[in-house]
Symmetry: C2
Subunit: 161 residues, 2 copies
DNA sequence: CTGGATCCAGGCAGATACTG
DNA sequence: CAGTATCTGCCTGGATCCAG
């Protein structure tokens, strides 16, 4: 058995409902690799190796998987030339271009709310209790994940790992 | 040590550039779990256990991680009540609501391009060779991932958002 | 009694090396 | 250059246990 091994390219199916369009969409969007591929392809056709470096440290295996999934969904078209040296170009189909809208939304969101890694954050400290007089224990948003794990603040190993 | 173990909540940092707003955004969006959480929270505050079932088979551990990440980013606010029985509510902050725009874009994309799992797909079979007279090997888009894996076909539970 | 932290084991993702 | 095969590791999910 070759190409259809035993693995789901995108996210794990249990995570969302694949029966609805939205479910499928989430599976696509909810995959960093796919997002990155589409973003790159939005700039025009790319060759396999080009994508490989553009995406950073994605393995060829993973790239192939994602590319194939996108191809099957009709978002990406693969064009292979049986020449020496071999050449394969991937480019977005019109449908795939639509994905650009989603990317755009993400970019806008990023600009508006992620310019700074840690905005004023939740008012957190005190907020009128929703429906009872109990004390809403407000946690000072201890950035546990941010300081000691590389959650979203480290500007270190982005590509040179 | 309790809550900050040793793991990255969202996607692996190597996958994208965390130094740019867009990079951070991709990390958020590129996580199915996070998407699902936000979608659920868009409908209003939820309790921990509610989210747990809404998301399906996400483990409490993973849910806690994501929730905490979103909390630190200021997208989600955690409100715990020291009462008996204990109660914890999570709800989106205004900033978190912004995320709704992204969700909306995804939904629109889903409606437009994912209503049918496998659209006409890439014309694939033949397309005018881009810049050479070699034969573009057109592969019949073998739906390897779609049929034999539960990629896009299994039916499960619904998180009606 | 809920929230969630820990431990264990399994599955998916990534890296490396090889082939056409 | 494109893609595949195999191995390893990390993340994830499940069960269990603890704290408030």
């Amino acid at each position: 058995m070759k190409r259809a091994e035993r693995e789901q390219p995108a996210a794990r199916p249990e995570a969302c409902n694949a029966t609805t369009p939205m479910g499928r969409a989430i599976r696509l969007v909810g995959d960093v690799c796919i997002l990155l591929i589409v973003i790159n392809l939005l700039s025009g056709p790319r060759r396999f190796s080009e994508l490989l470096e553009q995406l950073g440290h994605i393995s060829s295996r993973t790239l192939t998987q994602r590319l194939r999934l996108l191809e099957e969904l009709g978002f990406v078209e693969r064009r292979a030339f049986l020449e020496i040296p071999p050449r394969v170009e991937y480019h977005l189909t019109p449908t795939g271009q639509e994905f650009g809208q989603v990317i755009a939304a993400i970019e806008e969101f990023a600009r508006k709310n992620l310019a700074d890694p840690l905005p004023p954050a939740s008012c957190g400290t005190l907020c009128s209790a929703p429906s009872s007089d109990h004390s809403p224990v407000s946690r000072p948003v201890t950035a546990s994940l941010c300081d000691e794990s590389d959650a979203l603040t480290e500007a270190g190993e982005e590509a040179e790992n």
